[in-house]
């Protein structure tokens, strides 16, 4: 396989334009992924609602192990992040489809969602005094670097496994890519777990109030 074709397949390409806005192939893949998730949830809701309850309970276990507080207000955001990232990363394993997270814009968008939701939850729980904690310049830098690291971690994992799979396919097209595709699905789900746990930790840090609890009588 020609190396130029190999590398060209890794960069996102524009498919068509809507009202002057270019639409990439990863965006179309995201739309298709939304339809697939909605269809699967609808079918599971009809046939086996216990599967959906198990899924929600699973996400709740993951998150409540990290946050030391009731998790319900944040569960919709964190569960959506988990499901979106896990399905998006696994999508690339199917032959014709491409992972939406392969383009850096998708992980950047998800990290920005986490960034703004952290501040939203902080202000909602602690009032505007929460913004005083950002006066420390070290805190602002750490917020920005957290967002950047979330983006790069997710994007870097997906693009590196795709690149290695592409190289292996160009060398040994027959059986070896299956191993790499299986490994990429594993790392995809793992990265979804990591993203969710880190988002939960950041929200927890923003929402935690720094009151010193009075000594309780034994």
């Amino acid at each position: 396989m020609d190396e130029v074709e190999l590398m060209e397949g890794l960069f996102p390409e524009v498919l068509f334009e809507v009202l002057g806005v270019p639409v990439r192939d990863t965006v179309v893949s995201t739309w298709f992924m939304i339809l697939v998730i909605a269809w699967v949830v609808y079918v599971l809701g009809r046939r086996k609602p216990e599967a959906l309850e198990m899924l929600v309970g699973f996400v709740k276990d993951i998150v409540s192990g990290v946050m030391g507080r009731p998790v319900e207000p944040y569960l919709s955001l964190l569960g959506s992040l988990t499901i979106f990232i896990a399905v998006a990363n696994a999508f690339g394993a199917v032959p014709v489809f491409i992972s939406p997270t392969r383009d850096i814009n998708t992980p950047a968008a998800l990290a920005l969602v986490v960034f703004f939701s952290v501040h939203y939850f902080g202000i909602r729980e602690r009032g505007l005094g929460y913004l005083k904690s950002l006066a420390n310049p070290l805190e602002t830098i750490s917020q920005l670097s957290r967002t950047l690291s979330l983006t790069l971690r997710l994007f870097g994992n997906v693009i590196s496994t795709e690149l290695i799979t592409a190289v292996v396919v160009s060398l040994v097209p027959l059986i070896a890519p299956l191993l790499f595709i299986a490994f990429s699905m594993f790392t995809g789900v793992l990265q979804a777990y990591i993203f969710t746990v880190l988002a939960a930790v950041y929200i927890d840090a923003a929402v935690a109030s720094h009151e010193i609890s009075p000594p309780s009588a034994a």
Binding site: S149, L152, R153, G156, N157, I159, Y193
Partner: protein
């Protein structure tokens, strides 16, 4: 040798050394983390699940620095505006 060739040569050598050290250090440190976590699991099997969860999160965070190095090397090799195209 004109300047574009020199830049390409230096890019290749630098990216090779970058990926060499950039993956060696996180791998060594992750190995140490696994050793300590396994020691803890041997000593106290009842907290093994919490140790495993903490270990997994810590390894992903350590791995992310290696991913940053890989991204820089990919950019240097494939999307370098200054060097000659390597393909």
């Amino acid at each position: 040798m004109d300047s574009a060739t020199i830049v390409t040569l230096v890019t290749i050598v630098v990216s090779a050394f970058t990926i060499l050290f950039g993956t060696m250090v996180p791998a060594l440190v992750e190995g140490k983390a696994v050793l300590k976590a396994l020691d803890g699991m041997i000593r106290q099997p009842e907290v093994a699940d919490q140790l495993r969860a903490t270990l997994l999160i810590a390894m992903a965070l350590l791995e992310s620095t290696a991913i940053y190095v890989l991204l820089i090397c990919l950019v240097l090799i494939f999307a370098n505006p200054l060097a000659l195209s390597l393909f």
